[in-house]
Amino acid sequence: MYVSPQREPLIKGEKDYATITNDVTAPMAGKPGKYWFMGITISTTAFLLGGVATFFTVWFGIGTWGLNKTIGWGWGITNFVWWVGIGHAGTFISAILLLFRQKWRTSINRSAEAMTLMAVACAGFFPLIHMGRLLVGFFIFPYPNTRDVWVNFNSPLLWDVFAITTYFFVSLLFWYVGLIPDLGTIRDRAKKVWQKKIYGFLSFGWVGSARHWSRHESLSLILAGLAAPLVLSVHSIVSMDFATSVIPGWHTTIFPPYFVSGAVFSGFAMVLTLLIIARKTMNLEEYITIGHIESMNKIIIATGSIVGIAYLTELFVAWYSGVEYEQYAFLNRATGPYWWAYTIMMTCNVITPQLFWFRKIRRSLVATFIISIFVNIGMWFERFVIVVTSLHRDFLPSSWTMYKPTLVEVGLYVGTIGLFFTLFLLFVRVFPVIAISEVKSVLKTSGEKKK
């Protein structure tokens, strides 16, 4: 296959297949560094804090949250949607970019997919804890029971159960199937007997036979074909939690595609935030190059602009519709008591990413890091704005109220962030962060040496 010299190399430096194996497995063989220990200490502390908050919630009940009779959904659902959104980048990278033959995905897909799984786990925690009794959380699944009751298939919340479960399992399968050959590589490099045993066990007996590869490729492609519409469906269904209602500001038909775009947007921001740190601390700069960062920034600006257009469309149609409740909901978002949340959302999601139109900013690590944090914040506030501002002005003005999170709610949120980072730090220690075999397969066409 011919590759134009116009294209930037994806793998820098003088590399052959053996150096790729060594470079990627090296961080796993040595002892973790100082920064890793610092990171894991902070993140497990945050995670334990979440444990305490969970205890308070379960022991004293949902009353420990800042919810009231008007605002039944607050931080819990905001965080849920935020985490599910972040979980969209991984499968987008591995499935949709695979179908679009974007070779640059090979350096980032493995870690991004791992983030998907962790983010979805964090997301799932919020509906569970909101149900109060964690032990009977399985009630949400349809199973024959003595109460003779079935779940309500008419409810978008139940669609969510199916969507998130399917998404988690299919992402897990996709991630693990891709990981099998690399686990085989690690098994064959492992020095200690117990390591060889464990990786041998996990690698499913992979030997790299031509027949296996042929099937493996076919499987990856069809899984990608399945995962691509799945990515679209998951956040669409999440959006329907809101959009099927008749609450002004929630009921708008653009929600499904707009939520999907926002999800990919926030997911890429989180991937960037973590990978900018990881490539530095793990010496992977030759694999995750500035070119990769630039490509991700292009996706950020594309999805961010789509989100921006959706905001404006909503605003316009709210006015155009002539429905005064709809008009008020949007006016109140922008100028009501939560104007600051709306301003943060608009600034971080619509305005700052536009800086990526400049090539210099797209290729600057510092600028990218800062903007990616902005996007993370902005997308959190987007969900907060949607959830809280639409609820706090009820149809009955006597029910109008305000919402303020309590320490317990903040603790739960911090706890999931802790969980996310703990899992990620463990992941980088035990699994290869870069898809070894996939990077090898693009070395010939896209490595710097061959140019």
């Binding site: 296959m1 011919y2 590759v3 134009s4 116009q6 294209r7 179908l99 033959r101 490729e217 492609l221 691509a228 519409p229 679209l232 669409s236 329907m240 959009a243 099927t244 209602s245 008749v246 009921h251 708008t252 038909t253 653009i254 929600f255 499904p256 595609p257 602009s305 789509i306 257009i309 959706a310 469309t313 909503e314 149609v317 155009y320 519709s321 002539g322 429905v323 139109w357």
Partner: protein, 394 residues
């Protein structure tokens, strides 16, 4: 037919005669529509709007196809790029025809233009829905689209005689500008020309839904033109791989269209708010056959047929599906326009079919004229070689 040295399409008299014939059929249909008792004025103008919009969408889709691939630094499409580029040439012609339609038929198409009868909801929308602003927007859209698509094509053709990379860079800048402009105007134009037919009704998704239809019908048109060119002995470098990729687009965008259609339908059906459901009630109750035929042609058939790798790699199969989808989106626009303008008694007779044949003839005439003026391959495009030497494993 032999491939000539310059790789130019020869617009010979035989093809010209056929297209003239098609245009003549269209003109006869137009006369029938003007003088026949059976074709009421609303039906007459609605059909003009339908065809205008559809073929404008194909032209815009062609330019969008080029622009978005240039932006994405895509390589595989460069060797077929001249076809969508030529499709973009129809934009200004569509503009003229559309202007004529609106100048004479606007009152039959949009009841919001009738300001004599006070309607409180429409009065609220008047700052946007008024004829002056309507024409101002019209002018902005067509000026932007025509100019950008003209210069985008020009930069590409200039590259043929001068291999300098500056033309490629120019193309990329123009592409970005076009995509940004089109991202906004594709929605607003759909609101202006289609959504405002049912002036009381509104849906935030509507613009993106229409856009997804534009995407998939454009792909169908590109496939059909490519097959025609190949049958005429041109574009011998276009092989199964290109066709496979276009087939994948046809398959994927059919699913995207269905997804957006369903999102809009589900949310309106679920919330059951009368001012929103009215749109679908009208269509399900009074046009139920077309309502379901639309879904079968645009989703069920392409989805089932194009699912396998083999069918996407068979020129005949992909071609037939492209033809179905092309007709299917005509049906989709029919369903979008007719109930609002004509009402319950919509018909598909000689007038409708003849007029569409005329438009197809005119559209193809402009496209072929464009193809005959420049080489069929952008040989100096930096990614052109990639497009010749690639194979899709999937």
């Amino acid at each position: 037919m032999e491939q000539n040295m310059e790789n130019k399409f020869v617009f010979d008299s035989k093809i010209k005669m056929i297209l003239y014939g098609m245009i003549a059929v269209g003109l006869i249909a137009l006369l029938v529509g003007l003088f026949s008792e059976g074709v009421v004025e609303s039906r007459f103008w609605a059909n003009l709007l339908l065809n205008n919009f559809y073929f404008l969408a194909l032209a815009l889709g062609g330019t969008f196809f080029v622009a978005v691939h240039e932006m994405g630094e895509s390589g595989w499409q460069t060797s077929i790029q001249r076809v969508p580029e030529a499709m973009g040439r129809f934009i200004p012609f569509a503009g003229v025809l559309m202007l004529i339609t609106f100048l004479f038929g606007i009152h039959h198409l949009y009841h919001w233009t009738d300001t004599a009868h006070h309607d409180e909801i429409l009065a609220g929308k008047a700052p946007y829905l008024n004829t002056t602003f309507f024409y101002i927007r019209f002018a902005i859209y067509f000026a932007g689209w025509s100019i950008l698509s003209y210069y985008l094509r020009k930069a590409s053709i200039d590259m043929d005689s001068d291999a300098d990379i500056k033309y490629y860079k120019k193309q990329r800048i123009l592409s970005s500008v076009f995509v940004v402009f089109f991202a906004i105007t594709s929605s607003t134009s759909a609101w202006d020309w289609l959504m405002s037919i049912d002036a009381h009704w509104f849906s935030t998704l509507y613009g993106w839904y229409i856009f997804s239809g534009l995407l998939v019908s454009t792909i169908a048109m590109i496939i059909l033109i490519l097959i025609f060119l190949r049958n005429q002995g041109y574009m011998s470098h276009v092989n199964k791989e290109h066709l496979h990729d276009l087939g994948k687009y046809l398959f994927a965008f059919s699913i995207l269209w269905m997804y957006l259609w369903f999102s809009q339908y589900l949310l309106i059906w679920y919330s059951n708010i009368p001012e929103e459901t009215v749109y679908f009630v009208e269509r399900v109750n009074n046009h139920s056959t077309i309502f379901y035929v639309n879904l079968v042609m645009n989703f069920v058939l392409p989805f089932l047929v194009l699912m396998t790798r083999n069918s996407k790699r068979m020129i005949g199969v992909t071609g037939v599906v492209a033809l179905i989808v092309f007709a299917g989106h005509w049906v989709d626009y029919f369903l979008a326009i007719m109930p609002g303008v004509v009402g319950e008694n919509t018909k598909v007779g000689f007038f409708e079919i003849g007029l569409t044949i005329g438009y197809i003839g005119l559209f193809l005439f402009i496209v072929f004229l464009g193809l005959s003026k420049a080489s069929l391959i952008p040989k100096n495009h930096p990614f052109y070689k990639e497009s010749l030497d690639y194979h899709t494993n999937y």
